[in-house]
């Protein structure tokens, strides 16, 4: 059995296999409170799978995942969310037929039962909070727009905003700058540096420039295992990493 842990999130000996293929193989990963961790690795290294395992979308075959020293393997997605883990998907996953305001309002962690939702009142503090978050993610002027009409970059920001309004202790972002323009990337890096202050963040990213602009600690995954871990310079100079990833 896994031992007690002081880490915010601790993955120990985690494995998962799909039809015999081990996408993640005996993985150990520890995230501290207040840490920003970037996970990189070549295609098929198991990066997204790791996030899927943490947030309960994929079931762990072996091993333990603890959040605040609580076992979370086997729990349902919404239960894990309610514990304080937020997840952003690779492609912007927002509610296109709702306005920006409604997208953020739905993400507010209140009135989550059927009855609570049916008799939900849009109180002043709710409106205020939604506008506050909208301003944080550069969408203050677009709250009444349908989400479908936003640009790709704005959709990515909206999804980050939907996570921020949940106020999770651990935020997991899967390629937050994919498909963004250069200026949007810079703005996103600024946004991330601002929002990590009160929480831990795990980011998966391909874009090495972007990683350099935000990274504190980097974990390199390869074939479902941790290949190297440390700060950006150390990882970049690691010969094993150069071979599998940075070399080409």
């Amino acid at each position: 059995m896994a031992s007690d842990t002081d880490f915010l999130l601790a993955l120990e000996n985690v494995s998962v296999s799909f039809d015999g293929f081990k996408a993640v193989n005996g993985l150990n990963l520890y995230i501290d409170t207040g840490e920003l961790r970037v996970i990189i690795g070549p295609n098929g290294a198991g990066k997204t799978t790791v996030l899927d395992l943490i947030c309960g979308r994929t079931r762990v075959s072996e091993g333990s995942i603890k959040f605040k020293n609580q076992e979370i393997t086997g729990r349902k997605e919404q239960e894990i969310v309610r514990l304080g883990i937020g997840r952003k998907f690779q492609t912007p996953t927002i509610y296109e037929d709702l306005t920006v305001f409604e997208n953020l309002e739905l993400s507010l962690p209140r009135g989550r039962s059927v009855v609570g939702a049916l008799f939900w009142k849009r109180a002043d503090e709710v409106i205020q909070r939604v506008h506050e978050i909208a301003a944080t993610v550069f969408l203050a002027d677009h709250v009444d727009r349908l989400a479908a009409t936003l640009s790709h970059g704005q959709k990515q920001w909206l999804e980050i905003g939907m996570l921020l309004i949940q106020d999770p202790e651990l935020l997991m972002l899967d390629e937050p700058v994919a498909g963004m323009s250069v200026s949007e990337r810079a703005k996103t890096a600024e946004l991330l540096n601002q929002i990590i202050k009160n929480r831990s963040v795990v980011v998966i990213e391909h874009d090495m420039k972007f990683v350099e602009s935000i990274a504190h600690r980097v974990t390199v995954l390869h074939q479902g295992k941790v290949l190297a871990e440390g700060n950006m310079q150390r990882v970049q100079s690691d010969p094993k990493v150069k071979e599998v990833y940075l070399g080409h």
């Binding site: 919404q78 509610y95 739905l106 009135g111 989550r112 059927v114 049916l118 949940q166």
Partner: protein, 372 residues
């Protein structure tokens, strides 16, 4: 796509008022009681269509078995009416007087235990809503908790419609079999077969329909309504916003089924019988077509669609009965291909933007974003 959210709301109110005017004033003044009773029958299908707007149009759950719930509601109502019509005096000539005629024909000598509570009107009225809602809850919980959805759910509901039909036909002594429960006469001594009673029942049906439309409107306008739309578009995201998606789906499916059941009960009252031909696969799919033709996102559209298709069916099948099914199939294909948002979509997307007055009005709105 040019209307804003604000004016789509006021459009809906106008539509609602027009529907109320049509069914409560215009049709009763225009039609004789035979035709009006026919409209009343169509309106009972509209209950199903309104439920489908909630669970199919807004939540994306396509149920091809709403006839099951329409039927359960209808049978619960018919059971009460049948027992009242089967008093000992009325059934003196039977070998066992006091039980429904079809039971006597099937050599039953006493009332089956599950028929006994239907002697009470309050019980029957509660059962009209409760029995289908419980059935929907069990099916919904079994399916949605396991994340069965989409086509698989549609197929299972269709299978259920088939199963219930076979069960009703097979257990003749308990259900009246293929003939159904016929010869319904009185409700607490009030003869429901007279013209006067038909008028009253028609208006009761109208009031109930407008009532459930308002209820549906309330649900859709609440945060729950937005969660339903969100579930249709991005089910995973809703889960990762901390909602238990299955509970919301179960809720809306039960609600839609209860609405269908009230329609079924009004059917039994107005038409005077209930039979398995309103339970099975064909009527269930027809009800989906009514909803699709009217516009599956629009409550008013669903009611209009039901009236239009049924009116067409009556006209058409009086002259060319054998062609009707082809016409219906063609209509469905045309709707899916040419105007997927139905009649309501034609009005909001095509007609309204062409009206100069509305265009000017639209431009004065604070947020010029297109509505869904």
């Amino acid at each position: 796509m040019a209307a804003t959210r604000t004016d789509s709301r006021s459009l809906e109110l106008i539509g609602f008022a027009l529907i109320a005017l049509l069914i409560m004033v215009v049709l009763p003044l225009m039609l004789d009681i035979f035709r009006l009773n026919l409209v009343g029958k169509y309106l009972t299908y509209a209950f199903v269509a309104v439920g489908l707007v909630l669970c199919w149009g807004h939540t994306g759950i396509l149920s091809l078995g709403q006839g099951v719930f329409f039927g359960l509601g209808g049978y619960c109502m018919a059971a009460f009416l049948k027992l009242e019509a089967s008093s000992v005096e009325n059934t003196r000539i039977q070998s066992t007087p006091g039980i429904p005629d079809f039971m006597d024909w099937n050599q039953l000598t006493e009332l089956p235990f599950f028929w006994v509570p239907f002697k009470s009107l309050p019980f029957a009225l509660i059962a009209v809503v409760a029995v289908p809602a419980i059935a929907a809850f069990i099916l919904g919980a079994a399916m949605f908790k396991r994340r069965v959805g989409g086509v698989y759910f549609a197929i299972i509901t269709q299978a259920l419609a088939s199963v219930l039909t076979i069960l009703i036909i097979g257990r003749q002594g308990y259900t009246g079999g293929i003939n159904g429960i016929t010869d319904l006469r009185t409700l607490l001594g009030w003869d429901i077969r007279t013209d006067n009673a038909k008028y009253i029942l028609y208006f009761v049906c109208c009031f109930l329909l407008l009532g459930i439309m308002l209820l549906a409107r309330f649900v859709l306008a609440s945060k729950l309504g937005r969660i339903l739309v969100a579930t249709r578009d991005q089910e995973d995201r809703v889960r990762f916003s901390g909602y238990d998606v299955a509970n919301f789906k179960i809720f809306v499916f039960c609600l839609a089924s209860a609405m269908a059941a009230i329609g079924g009960a009004m059917f039994a009252l107005q038409v005077g019988f209930m039979s398995p031909s309103f339970v099975g696969i064909v009527p269930s799919i027809e009800m989906v077509i009514f909803c699709a033709v009217g516009g599956r996102h629009s409550l008013v559209g669903a009611v209009v669609g039901t009236l239009v298709v049924n009116w067409g069916k009556t006209l058409f099948s009086e002259s060319f009965p054998e062609l009707w099914l082809f016409a219906m199939g063609g209509l469905f294909i045309a709707v899916v291909l040419a105007f997927p948002r139905g009649l309501a979509g034609l009005v909001t997307d095509q007609l309204i933007p062409r009206l100069p007055h509305w265009r000017g009005w639209t431009h004065r709105q604070p947020s010029p974003a297109p509505a869904e």
